[in-house]
């Protein structure tokens, strides 16, 4: 079967302030902090992209051995996540490099701003993953998305996922030697699709 990898771009929806505060570790907000959050959301607006590339693969699970298309992984937790699935969507998502630049810009001028911008980035990428996930789950029964690094799903699987999806070319997402992703506000994950 020929492998079909697709790219999707979304318009980025409004930022959820409560989530930003949660990622920044704040439970009670002051008016000064409120002002800072507003400022950071404004700074980030227009500087985030919402990009996903993905493909759908056949899945087979045998004990701890999971095969998703050409990707073979030994992982108890992934195997458990994919129980009862015969297919899976593998995706990579990123909100782009501009947010990294913003954080870097303010980390020397204002670490407080950098921290909130970091939280805005966390909110954005989760929002993007949720948006994409909801589309996949619209017509089919899906498992919670599962990323390399969760449980014993080895981070090394990143290399194969990147090769499979051609992330640098499709969405400008790259992997370095330490298996870190650039842009940093990015996610790769597997969404299992139940057979029934």
């Amino acid at each position: 079967m020929e492998l079909a990898v697709f790219t999707k771009f979304y318009d980025s929806p409004p930022v959820c302030r409560e989530e930003v505060l949660r990622y920044a570790g704040v439970r009670e907000c002051t008016s000064e902090l409120d002002g800072l959050v507003d400022e950071c959301i404004l700074l980030a607006s227009g500087r985030t992209a919402f990009k996903v590339c993905y493909c759908e693969l056949l899945v087979s699970v045998c004990g701890d051995e999971v095969a998703m298309g050409c990707i073979k992984v030994t992982s108890k937790s992934l195997a458990k996540n994919l129980v009862g699935c015969d297919r899976a969507v593998i995706f990579a998502a990123t909100v782009g490099i501009e947010l990294d630049r913003l954080v870097a810009r303010y980390s020397s001028v204002s670490p407080a701003k950098a921290l909130i911008l970091q939280a805005v980035g966390a909110e954005r990428i989760e929002c993007l993953c949720d948006t994409f996930n909801a589309e996949i789950a619209k017509e089919r029964k899906t498992r919670p998305r599962f990323s390399p690094g969760y449980g014993d799903f080895p981070l090394e699987a990143q290399r194969e996922i990147f090769a499979l999806l051609d992330c640098p070319r499709r969405i400008g997402l790259t992997l370095n030697d330490s298996l870190l992703m650039s842009p940093t506000k990015s996610v790769t994950a597997v969404i299992g699709i139940s057979a029934k």
Binding site: F9, G96, A104, P168, R169, N176, S178, S182
Partner: protein, 802 residues
């Protein structure tokens, strides 16, 4: 036939997609297509032949990912050798009488360059250089760099090609739906950089279909003075029963491409989803079109990683503040290697409204070349403004131009032969707009005509290098009017002469004119207005000067460059006239008046207020008393609140920033008496890890508590940390790591510290660490947050005193 000659008279046809055709012939997912040059030579040759049969002039070798990051040296050589042989054989065996060439195809490495990734710029150049040299050895006719979605990597590849071959080099970039590269560059920015470096044809490929790429292509046609390439996808892919199909068929594709050829595209082909059928259709529809003549656009522009700044009617402001001349604090910062100081200056100038940043970091006692490269790299990581590299050291200039992500301004050359001999070769190789001072071996001519003559001489010399006059901006030199009453009038006349007789742009370092006079700003502003009236295009100036900004804004409005005077009105609303400045309090304030106020400003995190209150307090309160009685107690209250979880991290940081602002006011008011310095604390994010926000937070809080922090940055090799610790005999080292994959680097750093700096204590932190994990890798202490790091540092300090 020479391809460049052919291109002058003809439309050049490139080939179409390769990947999709290989998959159809059985290439497995995850298999490297470059290996098929060896294992399936016939298949590859067949595909090339089909493209030549369809009417292509150029096929691209199947070497998109053939680089030394993916293949061993031996395999790389075998692949490139076979790839070129396959293409040559196809040329020979194919029908058609059209001239045929073989292009060495070079795609991106798939890695992000530093600082946002881990591939060093020079390493990227070396990777591409290897591929280029093999391409030359095995007989490629030209180099095609394609599908690049990052400007910096495009530069690395083009530089490698230029340094390692004399073949024609074509560069094609992949643009997103927003009309920019993934890392942000606009077409105008790419045209500026690539043309500046001498690419023979430039353009776009991949990503989208021809129609969707049309706006980007139009931008290229508007800016480019070299042939424009178009190699689009067959529209967008979608899945039809598990198979990828593209939504633009060959007929529609040819129609859309033909439209763009009519508008001026000179090099056409296809990318993903296109086949020989598509190319044949394009050739058929366009072969009788008379190719558009390529015109020299004569646009003077510089660029950054995002955008181009063009010199035309609206004056360009070049910020002069990144320069140690006459600035004590700047000099200190350079000596202390305080890069943050330079970044803050650059960001502040950007916020003040300049368009370009001049960067000068020359001091006799520092290594200027190293510092300049570092400053350029650090600045271009955080600001989108183009840079003007300002040095008289040719080797520093070259090193900085090499690393610059765009087309820089080069400050400066002059009419002396020696100057031209050293600067023009650099401008030719790396591209750039050169600021040329109208002086030579006999000094600065007194008359405007004399300066015009020097300018003519400089243009003639530049021409020998193939540097066009659009890439020279003349600075006819503002001289001191207090020393010579005709100084300003001659300079103003020279601006007009250069503009009218030579058709060149001009720029001035405006403030020289007022040297030796009182209230210099007034003279500077007036002179600036006069110079703009004479047609000056740019100025190197101080953007914090109200008079200069007033002159600039008013000029824009008066010269018809500010619609509805909207920008002027916006600007005017922020002008402080004397009667809007708050009236000073008549009685001298006492410490009590401010006691709660400063404390409150700090605990609420109000930066400007904290600074203002502090500077008002300094009239009556001793600096150290403010620190001891106000700032430290306020900080402590916030710190304790954080430890008790009633204050959250962002608030702690806001307070810390407010306290820092107060400290800075105090520091600039204290001469010598700094109070007791606390011990040195070395801080770094370990090798392989590029996350540094946690480290920066710890740094800020430690500095607030008076520790002298030596920040080694991120992705720091163990050896560098050890070297600094030993050099300073530092008692504490703080290491940060975010990922499990970089904890081994942390462990290695600790091991080396134990060997070479056994006295020092190591404290570690970061998302993946725990107290147990920290103990296991040999650290002395784990800190969950910045306050814990402070408490530990205080502990160490107490022990040191004992």
């Amino acid at each position: 036939m020479n391809i460049k000659e052919y291109l002058k008279q003809n439309i050049l046809y490139l080939d179409g997609g390769m990947g999709t055709l290989l998959q159809a012939r059985g290439l497995e997912a995850g298999e490297l297509p470059e290996r098929w040059n060896l294992s399936h030579a016939d298949v590859i040759t067949d595909i090339h032949r089909a493209y030549f049969d369809a009417g292509c002039n150029v096929v691209n070798t199947n070497t998109f990912g053939a680089n030394s990051l993916k293949f061993s040296d031996d395999e790389l050589e075998a692949i490139i050798c076979a790839a070129i042989k396959n293409a040559r054989r196809a040329a020979k065996e194919s029908c058609g009488e059209q001239p045929k060439w073989v292009a060495l195809d070079i795609g991106p490495t798939g890695r992000m360059l530093k600082p946002y990734g881990d591939l060093d710029f020079e390493d990227a150049v070396a990777v591409f250089a290897k591929t280029v040299r093999l391409g030359v050895r095995y007989g490629a006719d030209l180099v095609l760099i394609e599908t690049m979605n990052d400007s910096y990597e495009s530069k690395a590849a083009l530089l490698a090609a230029k340094e390692n071959c004399d073949l024609p080099v074509f560069v094609s970039n992949a643009y997103g739906e927003d009309g920019k590269l993934m890392t942000g560059a606009t077409p105008a920015a790419m045209v500026a950089m690539l043309e500046g470096m001498g690419a023979d044809a430039i353009g776009v490929n991949c990503s989208l279909g021809p129609k969707a790429l049309a706006p980007v292509v139009d931008e290229y046609l508007k800016c480019a003075s070299v042939p424009v390439i178009l190699k689009p996808n067959a529209g967008l892919p979608r899945a039809v029963s598990g198979v990828t199909v593209f939504d633009v068929d060959s007929v529609e594709f040819a129609k859309e491409v033909t439209e763009l050829v009519r508008r001026g595209v000179r090099v056409v082909g296809g990318c993903c989803g296109t086949t020989p059928e598509y190319i044949a259709a394009v050739v058929e529809k366009t072969k009788n079109i008379q190719p558009t003549r390529i015109q020299n656009k004569s646009v003077t522009c510089v660029s950054s990683y995002t955008h181009a700044v063009t010199f035309s009617d609206a004056p360009v402001l070049i910020g002069e503040r990144i320069n140690p001349t006459g600035k004590k604090k700047f000099k200190e910062a350079l000596r202390a290697h305080d890069m943050d100081y330079i970044l803050k200056e650059g960001i502040a100038e950007e916020e003040a409204g300049v368009h370009i940043l001049d960067v000068n970091v020359g001091l006799p006692e520092i290594d200027e070349k190293k510092m300049l490269v570092e400053a350029v790299c650090a600045l271009q990581a955080v600001t989108a403004l183009p840079l003007q590299i300002d040095t008289s050291d040719a080797s520093a200039m070259e090193a900085a131009l090499r690393r610059y992500n765009g087309k820089a301004m080069i400050n400066s050359v002059n009419g002396k032969q020696e100057s031209m001999d050293s600067v023009f070769p650099l401008a030719k190789k790396y591209g750039g707009v050169v600021v040329a001072l109208t002086l030579d071996e006999s000094g600065i001519p007194a008359s405007a005509e004399g300066r015009l003559a020097v300018a003519e001489k400089i243009l003639a010399e530049a021409k020998k290098y193939g540097i066009e006059k659009k890439d020279i901006i003349f600075d006819p030199l503002a001289m001191t009017v207090s020393a010579d009453k005709n100084a300003a009038t001659q300079t103003l006349k020279a601006i007009r002469l250069i503009r009218e007789r030579l058709g060149c742009h001009t720029s001035l370092g405006v403030s020289n004119v007022s040297f030796g006079l009182p209230a210099r700003d007034v003279v500077n502003g007036a002179f600036f207005t006069l110079a703009l009236g004479e047609g000056m295009s740019a100025a190197i100036m101080n953007p914090y000067s109200q008079e200069m900004m007033k002159a600039y804004r008013a000029y824009l409005a008066l010269a018809g460059l500010d619609d509805n005077c909207a920008e002027y009105i916006e600007f005017a609303s922020n002008i402080h006239t004397p009667d809007t400045v708050p009236v000073p309090i008549s009685d001298k304030p006492t410490a009590e008046d401010f006691a709660s106020e400063l404390g409150r400003a700090i605990s609420k995190g109000l930066r400007e207020q904290a600074a203002e209150i502090t500077s008002a307090m300094l009239d009556s309160v001793a600096p150290l008393d403010i620190v001891q009685n106000e700032i430290i107690p306020a900080l402590d209250r916030v710190g304790v609140g954080f430890e008790n979880k009633t204050v959250y991290l962002p608030q702690l940081l806001m307070s810390a920033e407010a306290a820092k602002a107060a400290f800075e006011v105090i520091k600039s008011n204290m001469s010598g008496d700094k109070g007791a310095d606390r011990c040195e604390f070395i801080l770094a994010t370990v090798k392989g890890d590029i996350h540094d926000i946690g480290k920066n937070i710890v740094k800020l809080i430690l500095e607030n508590y008076g520790f002298s922090v030596v920040d080694l940055g991120r992705d720091t090799p163990p050896e560098a940390i050890v070297e600094e610790t030993v050099k300073r005999h530092a008692p504490i080292v703080g290491l940060s790591a975010l990922m499990t994959t970089t904890v081994p680097a942390m462990e290695e750093t600790i091991k080396q510290l134990r060997t070479h700096a056994p006295w020092c204590k190591v404290i570690v932190g970061g998302a993946v660490l725990t107290a147990e994990y920290a103990a296991a890798i040999g650290a002395d202490r784990y800190a969950r947050d910045a306050m814990e790091a402070v408490r530990y540092a205080e502990e160490i300090e107490r022990e040191l005193v004992k």
